[in-house]
Structure formats: structure tokens, C-alpha cells
Symmetry: C2
Subunit: 341 residues, 2 copies
DNA sequence: CTGAATTAAGCAATCGATTGCACAAAGTTC
DNA sequence: GAACTTTGTGCAATCGATTGCTTAATTCAG
């Protein structure tokens, strides 16, 4: 038994004017075409009755719902909540709400969820879970829906994207290790079907080359997931390969934590015997010993940047937006790296 | 230049029938009133044109948007993402989407965000951030909006709620400590303006009483926030009070982690010298040494339970729902507790 | 074979807000 | 003071889907 909502019609009846007049009086832009005294009366009646505009109705007419869609792989992954807060910090004050969906990095699910968002008439989409090539989101963008991608670009498309400067991060980290005297450096790479895994591996090769560090293929192991178990498994693989190394650069923090744990189980000390580094600087990292040396990426900032670009697109300022936004990263040296023995 | 969406009218024109016929043919319930052959033709045309129903338009007419609102204090708090996934696991397969908002436990913000949700015509709200007395959400429920609260009940209201059996959790933990020989047990309580802080302190007093453990007021310290810094500060306060104790039961994991850290800084070993326990069993806890003994609450399960209740309310099965749902908790004994010295 | 019952599909109102256009009253110009 | 602006408000169509009611067509009973 939903209590009846107050509508423009109610205010019109109350004040004795036409609903269109009420509509205009309540619209900050149109307001100036109405006599001030009438505006006051309408405003007063609206407040007295507790009027709240029905955005569904307005949305049907104007094709704007003041709602955006946000697609992420999985909200339980700690790097995403700060991104969402970053997005919210920009959009919420302007009256936007967000519908958040988890794709689980599943293509079919992503396609379905994209429809879920479009059916609800979202004004734009921030997509932090794009697959390498993503026809559905490209199509949506081509149809005129404002779209920004986060953490990854869609190949061969005009969709603006925001990424962290992972190249620089990997390079700084490698330089840090080099300065500590490491020259036999292993890499535990992330899943190659995920953007970050692939990008960071490529960055590793490039940076090693730049710094004249020999890359030995036997010292590169690829994880199938970004988690501690895989980090441990990869480290074990590295050890049993028999090639010596004094440092392991991991594609993310969780892999690094798993690697350190695996070392500990074998009585190998990090950082005394082997240095290990992570990537992302996820929350709670400073509670885990040894404190992990890692690369901090701007999560909140990335969310904000994406939201600002989306705003421009939604306001038809498409010209003003740059296709690419690269956010700086920061090397965070803590305890898991030490001079090579 | 948004590409024109296909509407019922387009399909009607294409197939030579009336839009109302198209609408009925596409509605699984109304479909039976239409000749099968016509349904097939319409279905085929809809598929061929790539028709997607406009939920905004449908929502205006039917007052159902297939969208629910979820209010939480802060998505970056690790206990909430699993709750959201639990909610999603129930609602998403049924076609619902969620608008998630962060209240930051701020009353004004909550009131504003509640309007944000109502303006968008959400079919119901799951509120995991209610304050102790919450006139705005009570009013919304009274107006007929389906509401379920999570983790806390609204006093003096008929709003169904889902909570974890915190009483049992505290009691089990206390019994665990008692069995280990502890009888001077301190409590680091959470903020008393938050539900969990208050509930757990009350539970602590009750359980201590039941187990005939003396409660000394000097051994109860209240944190102002649920974080590590406050945990450390409270532990310091306890130590400087001079009253001896052999165990600290903390109102949540983060307070416990801060307490352990503070102990370590003073050369006091946990668990050898003092046992420390947490609450929640948050993710990554098993990566932090010593592994924390804690109480596991059902986060995903709580989300699911709340979603199921909301579904019943939204389908006008209000009679079938019980006002209270209490989910069992589980004692997780790890390394931070040991026999009293 | 007529009249009632059933079935299938169309008609039109509706949800609430927005907005182009019409129109009347007041103000301005020469 | 006639012609023309300007200003403020009303009128009515519109967005797209839903649904009660009507009408037309078919089936069935007696």
C-alpha cells in the first residue's frame, strides 16, 4: 500500500496554476521565465507537500536518468572499492547514482549485465572490467552511449580510457632492485588473459631491456590467478627450475605474499636471502610481515579521473576529452627488499 | 547522437499488429491470450530488430523498476563487499539491479541518499547502515516501501532485520578463553554509536556474567573508531591502567590487529604472554601473524538472507516473513590465543 | 441455424514530467 | 493610437510500455 506520491499535478491544483508552470518554476533554468511571486508560491507549496520529482517520469521524457553504470570484475577484490568511492566522490554531488555490477570477468555475464544497464537507461558507463577485445562495449559506445574504461583500453576503438602508468612502476621497481645489487631477477606474471597480467609482463621485459638486465625465460612464471596460492606455486616452480635468482618481481601484491609464504616454508628468508616485490599497494599490506615493497597505484584517483571524463562525454563535450589518461604511480619501499647477498 | 532504440511501436509496424498485441506477446504471462503463430512472428521480429524493453517506460506505468537500493556505511570496509555479492547472488538472476550508496554513517547523508534511491523508484531497500533510531527509513517503510535492515534492527519498528548471532559469538569466544585458563579478560569495545560496538559490549557483559567471569570496568576500553590505531591506543590505555589481564577480547579484527601490534612494540608476545581475539574474520586475516583467533560471521549469507526477505516483501508476501533472522556464527581458533600463563 | 459463449486483437487512457507552440496581456515604438 | 515586441502562462503532445475495455471473429450449445 504505497502512500501516494506528490506530483506536479498536486502542486498545480494546490496553487491554481498549470502543471507546466509548476514544472518550469521548479526548474532552476526555466525558472526565470516565471514571475517571481508565482515561483515563490509554487516553491512553498512544493515544500509544504513534500514534493519529490519522479525521475522515472522525467527520464522517460528527457532520456536522462542521472544514473550511471559501473562494471567491475569483482567487488570483493580490494582494489575496486576505492575506485568506486573515487567515482562516487565526483558523481554523487552532482546528483548521479551508480548501478554497480560484477562481471566475474565472464564474457557472457558481461554482455548480459551491459543490457541490464542499458535497459535502465543509464546515462553512461564506467567499465573497469573490459576484456581485451570487447565488441559489446564497443558497440554500445558506437551507439552513442558515453563510455570510459578503467585500467585498460579497448583495442581499435575511440573509447577514452584511464590507466595507471604500470610501465613506469615496473621500471622503477626494477631500478630499485638493480640498485640493491640484484641482477638475477625472476618475474611471477599474472594471468595473460587479464589486462594487468599481460601489461605488466610486457613492461617487465621492456624495462629489463632498458636497464640491461638479462631476462631469462626460465625465470618467468605465469600464474593462472592473482592469488596467494598461485604465488606460492609459481615460486616453487622457480626454485625447482634450478636457475639461481636473488629477487622476485611479482605482478601483484597477492602473488608476492604467496611467494614470501612459500619461501618461509622452505626456510628461506625474505628479504635476507631473496627480495620479493608486489604491485598495487593494497590495503592492510602494512600489517603483514615483512612489509611488502610495492608500487602504489591511484585507485581513488583513477575513479575520479574516469568519472570526470564520463561527465564530459555525457555533457557532449566529447571534443575536450583526451583519449588517454595515464596516472602516475609511486614506488613504496618497505621491508621485503634488501641488498643482494 | 544516440542511435534510435527499437520500441514496441517498431515491432508493431514491422508485423502489422497493434502495439498492445506486441506487448502481450512479449510478456510471458499475457502471452497465452495471443495466437501462437502471431507470438512467433512478433518474437521473430523482436529478435531480428534487437528489441530491448525500455524499463524506464515500463517502470513509469507499473511502478516497478526491477532495481533495489542498498545502503552501506562504506564499501571500502572489507566486510561489505561479500554482503553485496550475497545480495546480488539472489537478486541478479531474477533481473534486479542494485544501486549502492555509501552513507559514511552520516545521518544527513543517509537522508539525502535515501531520497536519491526513492526518486529513482527502487522497488525496495536493503539497509546495512541504519543508525539506532532512524526516522527516515522508518518513514519510508511506513509509506509502503519494502525495507530490510542488515546487521541491526531499527528500534520500535516493524522492519524485518537480519543479524548475526553476535551474542553467541562473544559467548563462545569467552568460553574458549576461559577454557584456556584466562579469568582476567579485558575488552576493547567498538564505538558505542555504532550498532556492532554497542551490541558486542552488551554481549560481553552478559556472557561474562553467564560464565561467572568477573567484569572489571577498568578492563573495558572503548575505541572511537574500528581501526588498528584505535586498537593500539586502547591497549596502551589498558596497560597503563595497571590492572593485570591475560587476554583481550576485541570487538573486531582491526582493533585486535592494532592491539597485537602495540603489544609487540612493548616486547609483549601474543599469544605467549597475552591472548588477543577478534571478530568478523575478515579476508586476508590468515596472512597476518600471529593468525588471529576470531568469530566468523556470515557475510555472504547475510546478504542472501536479506535479499530473500526483501523479495518476499516486494511480492506482497509480507505475512510470510519473520521480523527477525539470526544467522549462526562460528568460532575460528587460530594462533593468537594460548593457555594463560 | 440462431443466440450465447469464448477467443483474439485493437483502442485508448494512463503513468509524471518536459517542452514547443499558442495566446493573451502588458509594454514599447513611431 | 496602430503595429509590434516582450513577457508570463496555458495547452497539448510526447516519451514507451501496460492494461481495462471494446469489438470482431469464431466456436459451441440446443
Amino acid at each position: 500500500m504505497q502512500k501516494k506520491r506528490i506530483t506536479l499535478k498536486d502542486i498545480a491544483r494546490e496553487t491554481g496554476v498549470h502543471v507546466s508552470t509548476v514544472s518550469r518554476a521548479l526548474d532552476p533554468v526555466e525558472r526565470r521565465t516565471i514571475t517571481e511571486e508565482v515561483v515563490k508560491r509554487i516553491q512553498a507549496a512544493a515544500d509544504a507537500l513534500g514534493y519529490r520529482p519522479n525521475r522515472i517520469a522525467a527520464g522517460l521524457r528527457t532520456n536522462r536518468t542521472m544514473t550511471v553504470g559501473v562494471m567491475i570484475p569483482d567487488i570483493t577484490n580490494v582494489i575496486f572499492p576505492p575506485i568506486l568511492r573515487g567515482i562516487e566522490s565526483v558523481l554523487e554531488p552532482l546528483g548521479y547514482a551508480s548501478i554497480i555490477v560484477n562481471t566475474d570477468s565472464d564474457r557472457d555475464r558481461e554482455i548480459r549485465l551491459l543490457d541490464v544497464l542499458r535497459d535502465r537507461g543509464v546515462d553512461g558507463i564506467i567499465h573497469a572490467a573490459v576484456l581485451r577485445s570487447d565488441p559489446s562495449i564497443s558497440q554500445a559506445a558506437q551507439d552513442g552511449l558515453p563510455v570510459v574504461t578503467l585500467n585498460r583500453k579497448v583495442e581499435f576503438s575511440e573509447i577514452p580510457y584511464v590507466i595507471n602508468d604500470e610501465d613506469a612502476g615496473i621500471c622503477q621497481m626494477l631500478r630499485h632492485l638493480q640498485k640493491l645489487g640484484h641482477n638475477r631477477i625472476a618475474h611471477i606474471a599474472g594471468p595473460q588473459d587479464l589486462s594487468t597480467g599481460q601489461l605488466r609482463l610486457a613492461a617487465f621485459r621492456r624495462a629489463a631491456d632498458d636497464l640491461s638486465i638479462a631476462v631469462e625465460e626460465a625465470l618467468i612464471v605465469t600464474a593462472t590467478r592473482f592469488d596467494e596460492v598461485e604465488g606460492g606455486r609459481c615460486l616453487t616452480t622457480l626454485l625447482s627450475a634450478g636457475k639461481p635468482f636473488t629477487a622476485v618481481l611479482c605482478a601483484n601484491d597477492r602473488l608476492a605474499l604467496g611467494a614470501i609464504e612459500a619461501l618461509r616454508e622452505r626456510g628461506i628468508d625474505c628479504p635476507r636471502d631473496i627480495s620479493v616485490t608486489g604491485f598495487n599497494d593494497m590495503p592492510f599490506l602494512d600489517l603483514i610481515r615483512p612489509k611488502l615493497t610495492t608500487v602504489r597505484i591511484q585507485q581513488h584517483g583513477a575513479g575520479r579521473a574516469a568519472a570526470n571524463i564520463l561527465l564530459q562525454l555525457m555533457n557532449d563535450n566529447a571534443d575536450g576529452v583526451s583519449l588517454e589518461t595515464v596516472l602516475p604511480v609511486e614506488l613504496v619501499v618497505r621491508e621485503s627488499t634488501a641488498p643482494a647477498r
